[in-house]
């Protein structure tokens, strides 16, 4: 059943605001961060009004309630991606920190000089720079699966790279620029056949598509709450249990230990071993509320709404002379349309659109190598989510014609 978008939008107070008096907001930047439903805002508000206490150590009522809420959120996030157990969800600050956690713990134990890590040309900086740093420190080699002109990965070259027996294949499930939905299960299966571990950057896929870590057989999955209707400041790393058990701790401090002596410590069990210090407790509660909200809507319904919106957006954008949209056709991509407009810089496009209340992103979207690949410094990116309307696409198109008129 199609979603009742106008009704659903009532759950998101910010969508009713005016950017300036008389200028309503058309929020087309959900790939950067999603807006939050009342369910999330209220859950966090209620946490601070009624429950707030530090977790895991206190014996008073508030501490026990807070701890239960924090751990309940972990269980919800685990269920959302069909993780076998809640302990396999490590709360991090965001996707970036989740990937860094793997790079600093698993990789620094398992990778040595000369080992190969395979990435792709469409990675966000968060799945490039941690590996650049590891490469500089350890002499690990990096290779990249090319992106073809149509925005899809070149899987023939991927297979050829696998013949060089990489130790890790780390890649995004969905490009934050091209929108490309990669064949995640196939990439993982091939990696495992070649003996490589796999890390999936799920920052874009987990918010927008049904994700089942057991069906995918993925070793590590990283994602952020704020891109899936939750708060900023919290994300998650899923890992297979034997891998997590064998990994050394990440940051040192409180909560990640069993016992501490003056000259040594014994690390805590998974997942606490990886969560040093007081975590983002209210944010975890908000994350849990976001997951509940998405489950109520249904991820299949979310994905099919976005599929409909992106198909309509591509059709409308491509009819504008001078507009070039990057990435594959609608049926192979999520709700992301990054485009250039002949002779007009994306910053100018975005600024003028903002004048009509249309929020889009302009720049390289933390994927500079991908833009270099296509020979452009920047793109304008419109992105969509479950609350996006066809009318907002129409507004965008009208706005682009206005930009053309101003620069005409």
């Amino acid at each position: 059943m199609p979603l009742d978008i106008p009704r659903l939008r009532q759950d998101f107070p910010i969508l009713n605001r005016e950017v300036r008096p008389g200028v309503p907001l058309a929020y087309l930047d959900s790939t950067a961060t999603a807006q939050k439903p009342l369910a999330v805002i209220n859950a966090m508000d209620e946490f601070y009004r009624r429950f707030n206490a530090n977790i895991h150590r206190g014996v008073h009522t508030l501490a026990e309630e807070s701890t239960a809420m924090y751990e309940a959120a972990r269980a919800k996030v685990a269920r959302f991606i069909n993780a076998p157990s809640a302990e396999q969800i490590i709360f991090t600050r965001n996707t970036t920190e989740a990937i860094n956690l793997v790079a600093y713990t698993w990789a620094r134990v398992n990778l040595k000089k000369g080992d190969l890590v395979v990435l792709t040309e469409m990675e966000h900086h968060s799945n490039l720079v941690p590996w650049h740093m590891l490469s500089a420190e350890r002499g690990v080699n990096l290779e990249f699966v090319p992106v073809m002109d149509d925005g899809l990965l070149d899987l023939d070259i991927y297979r050829a790279l696998l013949a060089r027996t990489p130790k890790l294949v780390a890649f995004t499930a969905m490009s934050n620029v091209l929108g490309t939905i990669n064949p995640v299960a196939e990439i993982i299966r091939l990696a495992h056949e070649a003996g490589a571990a796999t890390l999936v950057d799920g920052a874009q896929s987990v918010p927008h598509l049904p994700v089942d870590v057991q069906a995918l057989d993925v070793d590590f999955l990283a994602f952020s709450a704020h891109k899936m209707l939750g708060p900023t400041g919290i994300g998650a790393l899923y890992g297979k249990r034997p891998l997590l058990e064998a990994m050394p701790p990440f940051l040192g401090g409180g909560d990640m230990i069993k016992t501490v002596h003056l000259r040594n410590f014994v690390p805590n069990d998974v997942p606490h071993k990886f969560e040093a210090g007081t975590p983002a407790i209210a944010e975890a509660v908000g994350f849990g509320a976001a997951v509940d909200y998405l489950e109520t809507i249904g991820m299949d319904a979310v994905a099919s709404h976005e599929q409909e919106i992106i198909a309509y957006a591509l059709e409308r954008l491509e009819e504008i002379p001078g507009v070039k949209v990057f990435g594959p056709p609608a049926d192979k991509k999520g709700g992301v349309a990054a485009f250039t407009l002949d002779g007009i810089h994306p910053h100018d496009v975005a600024q003028i659109l903002d004048g009509s209340g249309i929020a889009v992103r302009a720049g390289h979207h933390c994927a500079q190598p991908l833009h270099e690949k296509f020979g452009i410094p920047a793109t304008t990116r419109a992105s969509f989510y479950l609350y996006s309307l066809r009318e907002e696409v129409d507004k965008l198109v009208k706005g682009i014609y206005e930009v053309k008129k101003i620069f005409g």
Partner: protein, 131 residues
């Protein structure tokens, strides 16, 4: 519609008066803003009294970066180099006649950064030059 795209900016972007390159020249510097691909190159010719006899800019990028370069060159021709060295962020904002957020400010100030690195004879354009 937009204050930011006041006619003056669009006009200087579309019909720059000082776009080009002076050869020979006394001062040359170029730099870019890697975040958005804006690029500005400035060449100046000086007269015997330490004044800017003529100037040109070349480059590519958004309307703000290119228009501010044109306005900047226009404002310094026949000015003493010592005065050019004293130009600040506020002078550029006054030329553009608009307020800018931090992202677009970088676009607007690229030409000033390049100009000052050139007149000071520096090897690189630092943000300290425009504070």
């Amino acid at each position: 519609m937009e204050d930011l795209y006041r006619e003056i900016i669009i006009d200087h972007y579309k019909n720059p008066q000082y776009r080009g390159r002076l050869d020979p020249h006394d001062i040359h510097f170029e730099d870019d803003n890697p975040l958005c691909g804006d690029h500005i190159e400035i060449t100046l010719r000086l007269d015997g009294d330490g004044k800017v006899a003529d100037g040109r800019f070349d480059g590519k990028g958004c309307a703000i970066s290119q228009a501010s370069a044109d306005l900047l060159i226009e404002s310094i021709v026949s000015k003493p180099v010592e005065e050019v060295k004293q130009l600040t962020k506020q002078d550029i904002l006054d030329l553009l006649g608009i307020d800018l957020g931090p992202v677009r400010l970088k676009c607007a100030l690229l030409s000033l950064k390049v100009l000052k690195a050139g007149v000071y004879g520096l090897g690189e354009a630092s943000d300290d030059l425009i504070e």
